[in-house]
Structures are given as structure tokens and as C-alpha cells.
Symmetry: C2
Subunit: 202 residues, 2 copies
Amino acid sequence: MGRPKKEDSLAQQDVINAALVCIDKEGEAALGVNRVARELGIKPPAIYKHVNGKAGLRKAVVLNIWNDYLQCCQGAVEGIADTAALFHTGAQAARSYAQNYPGRYAVMMQYQMRPTDSEEAVIIQRSLRFFQQALQLDGLSEAVLIDCMRMVNASIYGFLNREQMELMTLSRSSDASYEVMLDALLVAIAHIKKTAEENSTL
Amino acid sequence: MGRPKKEDSLAQQDVINAALVCIDKEGEAALGVNRVARELGIKPPAIYKHVNGKAGLRKAVVLNIWNDYLQCCQGAVEGIADTAALFHTGAQAARSYAQNYPGRYAVMMQYQMRPTDSEEAVIIQRSLRFFQQALQLDGLSEAVLIDCMRMVNASIYGFLNREQMELMTLSRSSDASYEVMLDALLVAIAHIKKTAEENSTL
DNA sequence: TCGCTTTAGTTAATAGTGTTAACTAAATAA
DNA sequence: TTATTTAGTTAACACTATTAACTAAAGCGA
């Protein structure tokens, strides 16, 4: 049946890679059909043979970035035993990624993930699991676990976002503020666990 | 000299109001020259007589939303004395605004504020002052104060953002998680203050 | 080998965005 | 009244995303 593959023709991954180049060079706004086609040296309509328009391009690129990001973070914490060290290292890895690839980070975080989409749901699960395992929140009730995860995710995401928005202009080093926040979060988690235990044994 | 004002001609505030209507009806993407002109019943180029293109429109609308938002939050905490109650009420007001006006909140938060711009700098100062006074962090060193403010802002901003991204789909009530986080943040702040004191008296 | 089919790419066209320039008409100030 | 100012217009241009129709090359089966 016809023409299944040719060696030098473009694959979907080539389109994604070109999009990443665009994003790294020019930021989130460079993620568009026309701009990426220009990068590939083809005309815009040809992209539709590899990806489903702008929406499909965005989705494919976002999933790719998320996988890369999670792999980075997972790799950074490999082999660490101590909980606090694990958490700090993971959080630092996340911040490093955001600083090394600000465009990718912005694209990834601004994308509205849909738990209804099976591929995106997998990523959501993996990303939740990352800090969950880093914090070793095992023997907890469902509600307490969720509360802790929501707080940690919100705080770290929020900090990195405010930093990317260049809203950390005050004299104080943001590196130091981040470390202070991570320590404080561990205390906050301990507090959440403690009050939950108290309420359950009343 | 000519024609200073006419009663029924459009003013800049009319353009901003029309933009707010668009945003409330259709979300952040509706903030554009063409869409707003349609809402006003004029042709797109006429908007340039009142506002400096898309960038000027965005800026004017964002400043307007920020003022409205801060007024809302300030009004909510008026007359409250207890620190914890003040913080909780302020944080709840912020969340209510985000829930009542998701489009405005998205526009406001995605806008890259520039401390170099005098009008935007005023807003940044006011917004920082809000949680600072709500937490009554008076007798602290500059560094500790900044660390606390950065953590609180990051956590609250992050939580509201994750919520708007519809990433709080788990069974657990997000209202409850928010309350738990606010309590935990107060504990975290106390911890930051304490360790700072210990380090300074070593 | 010859053709048939598939497919990556093309051109052309449509609809939407933001923006500038040139013009019109009305309202005011002199 | 006359001159000036200005809110709005139309026309045009440069982008964006997208579809339809076409081209040409690659592979499959005969």
C-alpha cells in the first residue's frame, strides 16, 4: 500500500524538536504553525501532515516537555535516601529546569492539562507522584496526603512562576528565599500531619 | 483650540469597561483590539484614538483589574484585629475574586509587570503591602520579611492558579485544602521567624 | 519493468488578528 | 463664520491559522 516511510522525510518528533528550538530561541510566543514551519524549511500547510494544527502541535510539545522535565527531576533525586535531602534536591531540580528553559517551562505550565485526556492524565499522575515520593508521605490518610501535595505543588509552582515573572527584584537573594521556603514547607507538612492525627484521635 | 470633549464620545474608561465585559463573557483570549471594538460598536482602528494598541489596552485593563482586586481584598479585611483572622479573610477574598472573575484573574496574573514602569510599580508595592500588613510582620529583619512574603505570595498565587487550571479534581474538597494550607503557612512563618532569631543570637 | 496508490510537500485561497495612512464629518474655539 | 481639532471611517498591509486542490516522488504489487 503505497508509501509508508521515507528515510529523510519529517516525522512528528522532528516537528516537536523544531518547535523546542523556536521556544528556546524566542520564547513561548514562538510556538506556532508558521514559525515552526519556517524553522523546518517547509511551508505552513505541510505541518498538518505531521501534527493536528496549532492545538495538536501545542499538545505534542507540552507532553514532550513534561516528559523531559520529569525525567530531569527523577534523575536528580536518584539514590538519595534522606527525606529532607530528597525534597530539597527535587525542588532544586525543578527550579533549575525552569531557569535553564524558561520558554519551555512557561509553555508547559500555561497549558491547560485535561484529566479527561488519557495521555495528559498519565503526565498529571507522574507529576503528582514525584513530590509525593520525594516526601515519602506513605502512611497518611487520603485527605492529608492531598492537602500536603496541593500545598507543596502550589508553593513551588508559585515561587518559580513569580520568579519567571521577574517579580523577585528585591535585594534579598531568591536562592536563599527558596531554601528558606523549602525548609518551612517541611515544617508545615509536619504540622498538617500532627493536627490531622490529633483530630482523628479526639 | 478646537474640540476638547464631547459628552457622548468614548473615553478610555469606556474602552476598559468594554474589555472587561469581553473578558468576563469569553475569557482572557477576548482581550484584543478587534473583539473590544466590536463590543463598543466601532471599527478596530478607532480604538487607537483612546488606547495605544493592543499593548496599551492590555496595560490599561490590567491596571484596572489590579486596582479592583486590591480594593476588594482591602475591603474584606477592614476592621479585623486578630492576625490569623486577618490573614484567612484576606486570602479568602483573593480566592473569591479569582473564582468570581476567572478571566480577569488570568489576565491580571499572566501580565508581566515591570517594576521599571511607574504605574505598575505602584501596584506591585500595594500588592506586596497587602499580605504584609495582613500578617503584621513588623519588627522583622528585611531578609526574613521578604522570605515570608515570597512564600505566602507564591503559595496563594500557586494554589489559585492550580485551581483555575482545573488541576484540583481529586475527591478532597479544595476549600478544605486551602484552609489547611493557610493554617500551615502561619506555622511556617513562625518557624522562619524563630530560626532567624536563633541564627542571629548565635 | 510498469503502473497504482499513498503521501510529503506545494500553491492558492479564506478568515481572522493587529496596525498604519488617508480621509470624513462633526463639534468646538476663535 | 471660519478654522481647528478629533472621533470615527475606509482601505491597505502584514501577520496568523486553516482548508482545498494539486504535484511529485516513493513504495507496493503485478
